[in-house]
């Protein structure tokens, strides 16, 4: 079973009479498996938040469909398995921290006798015990973000959708957040994170998707996304004619104590270089697939915006 599935999901704003159409999500086909931590990346305006709003049924798709646990997102019941933390969270500020969690727990159907214990457990987990009796209006941004995270986890959902979850957290908070996510993963929960903080996504996510202008550009695990992009051949000695031939390609050659390392940034070049090495009878000591960082993958994927 998939936790999230979209089929040709599209959203266009302002279509209709006398209004210019602005597509924000275009023919999105995405699958998030149960139990994985999935990173959803893209520059500002890529359509990440719109996709999340479509998944939550807050906005209607122009075409296509979205499913949570193989049920249409319009079914309210499927929300029993869902926890959501919005970007720049705004909470009902007339509650005290504990009261707000109690209200949301009741909405989620947490039984009254289990509610107090569950609320206390989450307040402790998110270091909000001291602020539990404080009015939410007096919470700092970071505290509100923690409280928002707590409300998303109240009913121990199978799927968490987190939109920029660490935007207001300090480094300590981010570390704690990462640990909580890894704990959730160990328990088989699915987490869908939209974030700009690439290092954070890289450290916790099993798979990532990169979106730009509403289009899904790439999706896969980090090795999948970086494989075929950069390969290193470590060889024993390089004959001069081959050195010259390699100099005319994009391959980067580094010589070290009788060995040479040839770095091929893409798959086509890798094949060419490998052929050249074999033609010259050069012994390949080892071939290393160079894994790119998520940041490298991200910038290699997105088209930079036109310069003004």
């Amino acid at each position: 079973m998939t936790a999230i599935r979209t089929e040709n999901l599209s959203k266009t704003y302002g279509h209709g009479w006398n209004r210019e159409a602005t597509p924000t999500v275009r023919m999105l086909n995405l699958e998030v498996k149960e139990g994985e931590i999935f990173g959803f990346l893209g520059p500002n305006g890529a359509g990440k938040t719109s996709t999340i709003h479509l998944l939550l049924n807050l906005i209607r798709p122009t075409s296509g469909t979205a499913y949570l646990f193989d049920r249409p997102v319009a079914e309210t019941e499927v929300h029993r398995r869902l926890g959501y933390l919005p970007e720049s969270i705004i909470l009902h500020d007339y509650y005290r921290g504990r009261g707000l969690l109690d209200f949301y727990a009741a909405l989620c159907g947490v039984p009254a006798d289990a509610r107090t214990a569950r609320v206390a457990e989450l307040l402790k987990l998110l270091n909000l015990e001291d602020a539990a009796g404080k009015v939410v209006a007096k919470y700092s941004k970071g505290m509100a973000q923690r409280l928002g995270f707590a409300q998303a986890m109240l009913h121990d959902p199978d799927l968490l959708i987190l939109d920029e979850p660490t935007a207001s957290l300090d480094p300590v908070g981010r570390k704690e957040f990462r640990d909580i996510l890894l704990g959730l993963k160990r328990r088989g929960k699915t987490v869908f994170i939209s974030s700009h903080i690439l290092s954070e996504v890289e450290s916790v996510c099993d798979r990532v998707a990169i979106l730009q202008n509403g289009e899904l550009k790439r999706v896969g695990t980090l090795p999948e996304l970086s494989s075929g992009r950069s390969t290193r051949f470590v060889v024993k000695g390089l004959p001069a004619p081959l050195m010259e031939a390699l100099a005319n390609t994009a391959a980067q050659v580094t010589l070290t104590q009788g060995q040479a390392t040839i770095r091929c940034p893409d798959e086509a070049l890798r094949q060419t270089v490998e052929q050249m090495l074999r033609q010259h009878g050069v012994e390949i000591l080892r071939t290393e697939a160079e894994t790119q960082s998520l940041e490298e993958i991200f910038f290699a994927t997105i088209t930079p915006p036109p310069k003004l």
């Binding site: 939550l56 209607r60 309210t76 009902h92 209200f103 989620c108």
Partner: protein, 273 residues
């Protein structure tokens, strides 16, 4: 049903934390008290003037404090008329204040949640849009019921302290005022799903003051608040009976249900970001 009550209780809590609403309620109460004091002094002046007239016209044989049967009746009728008009005007003022409060409550109930973005969290829980809207309406109804109760208590206390006898028309006033406010509220809530709450409130208020009556077909399309206004009934000298009140209640219920159904239709398809 439990979810609707939870949303309603949250809505009441939110309303009680709205400074502007509390300000409006206090202003409405202050206006009512001010009006009551003014009317009370007017009533005393009428009594004093009548007594002065008696003094001037009194016969030396009958004594200064003696009144003929006809004079007594005239005085009693004049006092009853002043009293009923006073009570009706009391409700006119209270009803106007209540209408402003109702428009504020219902036009912002859903719209403010959408504007602030808090609706996104609530609807990410297993809460349907229908439950959300009905919960919000129920919360507003509860606050308005409390307000109507307070106003009724106010007139009872005032009538008691001023030795006023409540007229038969007046006894229906709180209920009719409550019905009128719920009608206004349901229309304001519907309109607020299409436009800014302030514009929605103004339109809802204006739409119902067309003074249409049957058989004018507009009466059945546009809301008509006229018959819910006790002041008009008193001025026209028409006394409301239980049948009239039942008919008006039915009209209000019918109107509210239609408005809520339209609001639900709109809300279910509305983009909530």
């Amino acid at each position: 049903m439990k979810t609707i009550f939870l949303i309603a209780s949250d809505s009441i809590r939110a309303l009680l934390h709205q400074r502007l609403l509390l300000g409006l309620m206090l202003a409405s109460l202050a206006l009512t008290i001010f009006f009551s004091i003014t009317m009370s002094s007017v009533r005393k002046n009428i009594t004093r003037t009548y007594n002065d007239d008696q003094m001037t016209n009194s016969s030396p044989f009958m004594g200064t404090n003696q009144m003929s049967e006809g004079d007594r009746r005239k005085f009693r009728e004049s006092m009853e008329s002043a009293s009923t008009t006073f009570q009706a005007m009391f409700y006119q003022v209270a009803s106007f204040g209540g209408s402003i409060v109702a428009l504020f409550i219902f036009s912002t109930a859903v719209a403010s949640e959408i504007r602030k973005g808090t609706i996104r969290l609530t609807l990410s829980k297993p809460v349907s849009r229908t439950q959300f809207l009905l919960g919000k309406y129920l919360g507003g109804v509860t606050v308005m019921a409390a307000f109507a109760l307070l106003t009724s208590l106010a007139i009872l206390i005032f009538a008691q302290t001023q030795n006023l006898e409540l007229s038969p028309v007046i006894k229906w006033a709180p209920w009719l005022m409550f019905c009128r406010q719920l009608m206004l509220g349901s229309l304001a809530m519907l309109l607020s799903l299409f436009m800014h709450p302030i514009i929605a409130s103004v339109l809802a208020f204006v739409a119902g003051n067309g003074l249409y009556s049957p058989p004018n077909p507009l009466y059945f399309i546009l809301p008509s608040y006229k018959d819910f206004n006790v002041f008009f009934q008193v001025l026209q000298g028409s006394l409301l009976n239980a049948r009239d009140v039942a008919w008006l209640s039915l009209y209000a219920a019918d109107f509210i249900v239609i408005m809520l159904l339209l609001a639900l239709w709109r809300f279910r398809t509305k983009e909530l970001v």
